[in-house]
Symmetry: none
Subunit: 210 residues, 2 copies
DNA sequence: CCCGGTATCCCCCAATTGAGGTATTGAAAG
DNA sequence: CTTTCAATACCTCAATTGGGGGATACCGGG
């Protein structure tokens, strides 16, 4: 299978940059269109060349590779960014993915692994270790409390209270409006949360408002 | 390296269930503590056994494996759930991960691949194809871009926090997600409430969700 | 160089909320 | 008649939230 990939390198060490450039030049179908040694230069140059993939050192002399990634993704969102780092599985990697990188390779990787990661990126993958993958999946999970296929049936009173909840009333205000005791409102709320499988009024309101 | 893993199977086909049970029984260190053929039974049985890993068919006779996963993760969050599906790379898989699964295997996988996926899960990984990994990473990323209707003149950070608010996160969770201090989140919230002229998170969310 | 805005972190304190109970009443269902 | 369920009220305890300060750091424009 043949593939044509244009690449950019952002890496402050001239020797590592050279090694990468050579590796790319020696790989059929791969072309390095741009090599930068600072984040500032990357932000100037890369939008001009719009490479398919950027290999981005996570530690740069001026701004961090993470910051650079975030800025680049705003300008050229279609360019995929592969982080290049010495340490695996730390917060930097995680934050880089958050900033818009779609994978990373370790500096100690073999040339074959590097090419494989680039190929994976180009084909729509996201090269990363399993530990980081798990972190990403977990973080992603919390972001989606979306369900609601079968809500258990709320009673009439519970629906009434949920409606007031989603109009922004506090418990005390709901109690006054319904001429019932504050604690009664709280009891109803407990039941509502149970039935909707949520654990806060905000989540209940979100669910109620679709 | 030796490993001891307790497993549960949720799968309506008796033959597939049997095959899996046998595979597990034949693998040193693996024990199947529970096998269910419906989502309802899984919700009753699995919390009792609290297995390390659940192999969950995505298509069940009563509720969906996705719904079942979401409910289970609320009851026994430490149990890892591995989806078991015929089709790769479709919305079901993606939604299962959203619901709290941490990976999946295809029904056509070899026994070795299945054991490998379970081992990966147990060791903190998230077995999935590269296409799905990319989707997850991208979804995860979208926490960063600040797009939204121009509510007052909220800053980018404030909008970001308001977005998380209206996804149901508590302050502590927002702090973790953004890698900032709990108090910083609270400070941003004060400013948000001021600008939106509201007095509680619920009111802010209601306003944000129109 | 100072100033305003943004983002960050810290302190305190009062109020609210969430989660665990228990208990009574009336109505509906068996 | 007994059981169940909905609605009501009360209690305690821990956690979260809201509101009031203040402080530091960075960055950009005048």
């Amino acid at each position: 299978m043949s593939m044509f990939v244009t690449l950019a390198i952002v890496e402050d060490s001239a020797s590592i940059r050279g090694t990468l450039e050579k590796l790319i030049a020696d790989t059929p179908g791969f072309t390095c269109v741009c090599a930068c040694d600072t984040g500032a230069e990357a932000l100037r140059q890369i939008p001009k060349f719009m490479p398919d993939v950027v290999i981005m050192d996570i530690r740069l002399p001026d701004i961090s590779g993470i910051e650079c990634t975030a800025r680049l993704k705003e300008i050229v969102p279609q360019t995929q960014i592969l982080m290049f780092t010495v340490h695996e599985n730390n917060d930097h990697v995680f934050r880089a993915l958050e900033a818009g990188a779609c994978g990373y390779i370790l500096k100690r990787s073999t040339p074959a692994e590097i090419i494989e990661a680039i190929t994976d990126i180009k084909q729509g993958g996201a090269p990363m270790s399993s530990e980081v993958a798990r972190k990403v999946v977990q973080s992603f999970r919390k972001a989606a409390p979306a369900k609601s296929p079968e809500n258990e049936q709320l009673t009439r009173r519970e629906e009434e209270i949920l409606t007031l909840l989603s109009q922004g009333y506090a418990n005390k205000e709901i109690a006054e409006k319904l001429f019932i005791h504050y604690d009664t409102v709280r009891t109803h709320l407990k039941h509502i949360y149970e039935k909707l499988h949520v654990r806060s009024r905000t989540e209940a309101v979100i669910k109620f408002l679709h």
